[in-house]
Structures are given as structure tokens and as C-alpha cells.
Amino acid sequence: MANIISDEMIEYVGILAKLELSDEEKEQAKQDMGNMLDYIDMLNGLDTEGVEPMSHVFPVHNVFREDVVENADERDKILANAPAAKEGAFKVPKTVE
């Protein structure tokens, strides 16, 4: 494996992804990420001369909606998915900037 993920890097990525990893999981993730980067390096080494950049896997563009209201008030159904609700709103731990 050419790409070595440091302990600091895996710690940082864990913070960004809000994941708490055990030491064992960290080692596994370091392996996996290293392999992924190796794969990307391999792709970067390919000759892409004359190949058009692809911005999407499907050769489709311009899929639009018209600006017309289609959805009615289905708050109860939406809130049924909330871990906790109060006064018609999703209830979350107190969050202040």
C-alpha cells in the first residue's frame, strides 16, 4: 500500500464524520482509506488524453420540475419519522451557536 493514513488523519476524519471508532476500527479504516487512495492514484496514472471529463454517470442533463406547488401539509407523517417531536417541530438537543 503506497498511501499510509496517519493516526492524526483518521482521528480528524472521525471528527468530521462524527464517528467514534474503536482502535480496531481505526486500524481497519486506515487500511481501507489507504487502498482507496491507491486506487485513485492508479486512475490518475491512466492516459486520459482525448477523453471528455464526465460530470455524471448518466448521459442525461436538464431534469427539471416546473415551479408548481405539489405537496400538501403532511406534517404528521413527516414528524412520525422524528426521534422526538414537540409543538409540530423536530425536537433536538439544545443547539446554540
Binding site: Y12, I15, L16, K18, S55, H56, V57, F58, V60, H61, N62, V63, F64, R65, E66, D67, V68, V69, E70, N71, D73, E74, R75, I78, L79, N81, K86, E87, G88, A89, F90, K91, V92, P93, K94, T95, V96, E97
Partner: protein, 477 residues
């Protein structure tokens, strides 16, 4: 000698677009609904839901780009900006980083030293977040996703501004252009236009940029001006003490007239953007772009030229009337009904402006109808009511959009032109004020004015002052 510093300012302006529905789903964008009544699986980030782009968002964004001299990126696409916050249900915001819809524009502002170009780096489309309400009784926050997915454009300027006056001139110009396009109502107080100020200072004459800070939570022009002054001083103080400015986001507290850093160092701002896989690219063909261009409404500069030609009103009037889209709309609609542009202009410039100031209102809060203003002009012109009654009636129209014909009828405000009735009142005024009569007769012209005033008072303002004047003169001769 102390170092002179120059302030360098760039703005990130978010504007909520005036679409009926959200950017990626068919939920209404209407204001004021009860929490979460305008939501669906897409804008609450439910697993498996897929976004579909609202065509009108592309049209508005391109229209703003064209009106601000941008190059329209005819191949553009969306990216994911990843961050965790409870107002962001997907844990990412769909935005545009690599291929924004507009680039390299500018607008011109008027400054004390002449016209100045302010560069626009880019304009991109993105979705708004929900709203967090902090519960008063329980230790929790409540999330309302009605605003989640409301379409925004973010207009990023170049760091071309040097002081608060230029920033406000830029925002004012931008707001007017967008309002004229009908792309947004751009209300700072209500958050449909939000400006983040990026500011740094550097020794005057230097062409190296200093470390900048980003200031958020600025919801009035006054707050923006104060925040710029406050941040400039804070940075200069740090530098002159030999310290450095930290690149950070700061929140302005307008009550305390101070700002504080919003995020701690542990909270890294690393958004890990990547191309949005759920949306296909947007291709704006030459034909589509041409049709957006062709539908571009008349902007202020063109309006000014037309007003002068078509309505023959003074430049001064045209300038004030076109300074707000709503005002120009009322002017044109009223003139179309009554055909008297100068009179319409007078009502807007004098009484409307006075009442707006008195009630601390903006032009887009005007609610009276052109029909009622046209009727009032008609009533005055016919001599049905006199000018002071007209002012009183206009106040009613301004505040409650009252029908002036009905109101004049109900309140008995018609001018009394019946000479017999007037004469009777005038004779009584003459008898009651012998001193003024004597003064007038001994050549004091002013005394006549007083007697006219007394007559008008006795008539409760409903007489034609000119008729009163004439009859009085006749009676005193």
C-alpha cells in the same frame, strides 16, 4: 507616525428567490406557515428521497447574472457541502462549488469620487436551511424545516469595497436590480437578503491582502455600517499591538455593537465538497439563454430614460420614483388610469414619502392601490374636495387603502361651493373678529389670511379656499 490602514471588503450576499416552490421539491415557499407544514421527505432529508431541480431557480439565477454583467456558465452542476447542524437535515447542503451558474460580473455604484465598478466573482444556486427555535421551558431546540430547501443564490463579490458607504451603495444597487427582475423581494429585516462581510485591513498603499474575518448576522444597513467600523477598529488595534488577526467567522451583536468568534478551533471548517450524485448537470442552451435575455424586464436605467420621454416628469422625480420597484409600479399603474403623471408623482414624492418616514416603512410595504390614488386625483381635479381634505383622505388611503369616493361621501367632506351657505358663515366670521376686519381695512393683507383661516375652520375645512377668499374680499370691500 502611526500607520494609516486601508480597509478591504468583499461581500457574500444570499438572496431568497421568489419561486412558489422549493429548489428541489414541490413544497410551498410561503412565509408564516405553522412549523413543518411546508415539508416533505426531500426537504427533511429522509433516506431514499431524491431532489429534482426547479427550472425557475435556474431562470432567476441566470437573469440576475445577466443583469450584473456576468458570464453565464452554460454547463453547470451541483456539489455537496458537508457539515453537521440540526437545521440541515441531510447533513449536507446542495450548493455549487466547481461550476457555479454565473462568473466574472460587475455592477457600477455611485461614490463620492464618481462611478466605481465592483466585481462579482460568482453567483451560485443553493438551498436554504431550516430554522432552530430554542425552547423556553425545556433544555432542547425545536427544528422547523419550512425554510429548508428554499432556493437561494449567493452572490460573491470581489474584495473591491473600501468603506461602509461603498458596501451600502453596492447592496442598494444589487437589491434594486434583483427587485426589478422580480427574482426576490430582498428584505434584509426578514432575511430574504442576507449579507456576510469579509473584511481585512492593510497598510495604505500595500497591495497584499491582510488576514480577513467573516462577519455574519447583519440584518440592516445600519448594522452593516456599524459592524464594518467595529471590525476595522478591532483589527487595527490587534495589528498595532503587534498581534495578528485570526481568520474566523464572527457574529455581530448589534445591541452590544460588538462581535464575537462563532466557532472554536476544534470545530474545523472542512466541508469536503464533492459532486452531487443525485442531480444531473444543467445545460443552458443558447436558445434558452436568449429567451431569458429577451424576457429580462426593464431595469432602472432604461426606466429613467423612458419616464423622461413618455411622462415628461423632472429627472429629480424620476430618480426618486424609480429608486424602488414598488414605487415605480404604483406610479405607472396610477398614471395609466388617470393620465396625469406629474400629479401622481407629486403624491408619491410628497405625501407618500412623508407618511413612509412617519411610519418607518419601506417602499415595498406600500399597500394602497393605484385605483384609489387615481380616484383621489380625480376628486381633487374636479374640485369635489380641496387640497387639505385631499391630504387627509390620502392618509386613509395610505394606511387602509380606503376607497376615497366612498370615504368622502360618508364623512361629508365635499367642498361646499354653495355661495349662500358660505356667505352666511363668512358674515359671522366678520362679526366675530372686528379687530382683524379693521386691520385688513387699514391695509394689513395678513389679516385676510387669518379671516380665511377662521372661515375654513368654521367650515371644518370643506370650503374651497379660493371661493372663500373671493367672497371675503367682496364682503369687506
Amino acid at each position: 507616525m502611526s500607520i494609516q490602514y486601508e480597509t478591504v471588503i468583499g461581500l457574500e450576499v444570499h438572496v431568497e428567490l421568489a419561486t412558489k416552490t422549493k429548489i428541489f421539491c414541490g413544497c410551498s415557499t410561503a412565509f408564516g406557515g405553522a412549523p413543518n407544514t411546508h415539508t416533505c421527505p426531500v426537504c427533511t432529508g429522509m433516506p431514499g428521497s431524491l431532489p429534482v431541480l426547479n427550472r425557475q431557480v435556474v431562470e432567476y439565477a441566470a437573469a440576475v447574472g445577466l443583469a450584473t454583467n456576468c458570464t453565464i456558465n452554460q454547463h453547470c452542476k451541483f456539489d455537496r457541502k458537508n457539515y453537521f447542524y440540526p437545521d440541515n437535515p441531510q447533513n449536507y447542503q446542495i450548493s455549487q462549488l466547481y461550476e457555479p451558474i454565473c462568473r466574472n460580473g460587475y455592477i457600477e455604484i455611485d461614490t463620492a469620487s464618481g462611478t466605481k465598478k465592483i466585481g462579482i466573482h460568482e453567483i451560485h444556486m443553493e438551498e436554504d436551511a431550516g430554522k432552530l427555535i430554542h425552547d423556553e421551558w425545556e433544555d432542547c431546540s425545536l427544528v422547523d424545516f419550512n425554510r429548508s430547501g428554499v432556493p437561494l443564490i449567493e452572490i460573491v463579490s470581489e474584495p473591491d469595497m473600501r468603506n461602509a458607504e461603498e458596501v451600502i451603495a453596492y447592496l442598494d444597487k444589487l437589491r434594486l436590480i434583483i427587485q426589478y427582475l422580480g427574482a426576490s423581494d430582498c428584505k434584509l429585516q426578514e432575511g430574504s437578503m442576507r449579507a456576510d462581510v469579509n473584511l481585512s485591513v492593510r497598510p495604505a498603499g500595500s497591495d497584499v491582502l491582510g488576514t480577513r474575518t467573516e462577519m455574519k448576522n447583519l440584518n440592516s444597513f445600519k448594522a452593516i455600517a456599524r459592524a464594518i467600523e467595529g471590525e476595522r477598529e478591532r483589527q487595527i488595534e490587534l495589528l498595532s499591538m503587534g498581534r495578528t488577526v485570526t481568520q474566523e467567522t464572527r457574529r455581530w451583536d448589534d445591541n452590544k455593537e460588538a462581535s464575537y468568534a462563532m466557532r472554536s478551533k476544534e470545530d474545523a471548517q472542512d466541508y469536503r465538497y464533492f459532486p452531487e450524485p443525485d442531480l444531473v448537470p444543467v445545460v443552458i442552451s443558447d436558445e434558452w439563454l436568449a429567451s431569458i435575455k429577451a424576457r429580462q424586464p426593464e431595469l432602472r436605467t432604461q426606466k429613467l430614460i423612458r419616464y423622461k420621454k413618455e411622462f415628461d416628469i423632472p429627472d429629480y422625480d424620476a430618480n426618486i420614483i424609480t429608486s424602488a420597484k414598488r414605487m415605480a409600479d404604483i406610479f405607472e399603474a396610477t398614471t395609466a388610469i388617470c393620465g396625469k403623471p406629474k400629479k401622481v408623482s407629486n403624491w408619491l414624492m410628497v405625501e407618500t414619502m412623508r407618511l413612509m418616514k412617519e411610519h418607518e416603512m419601506e417602499a415595498d410595504e406600500l399597500t394602497f392601490s393605484p385605483e384609489n390614488l387615481a380616484k383621489l386625483i380625480q376628486l381633487t381635479d374636479e374640485g369635489t374636495i380641496n387640497s387639505s381634505v385631499a391630504k387627509e383622505v390620502f392618509t386613509k388611503i395610505f394606511l387602509e387603502n380606503t376607497d376615497p369616493e366612498q370615504y368622502v361621501e360618508e364623512q361629508g367632506l365635499k367642498t361646499v361651493s354653495d355661495e349662500g351657505a358660505l356667505k352666511e358663515v363668512i358674515r359671522k366670521v366678520i362679526t366675530d373678529h372686528p379687530q382683524s376686519v379693521a386691520d385688513y381695512r387699514s391695509g394689513k393683507e395678513k389679516a385676510l389670511g387669518f379671516l380665511v383661516g377662521q372661515t375654513m375652520k368654521a367650515m371644518k375645512g370643506k370650503a374651497d379656499p379660493q371661493a372663500v377668499n373671493q367672497i371675503l374680499k367682496g364682503e369687506l370691500a
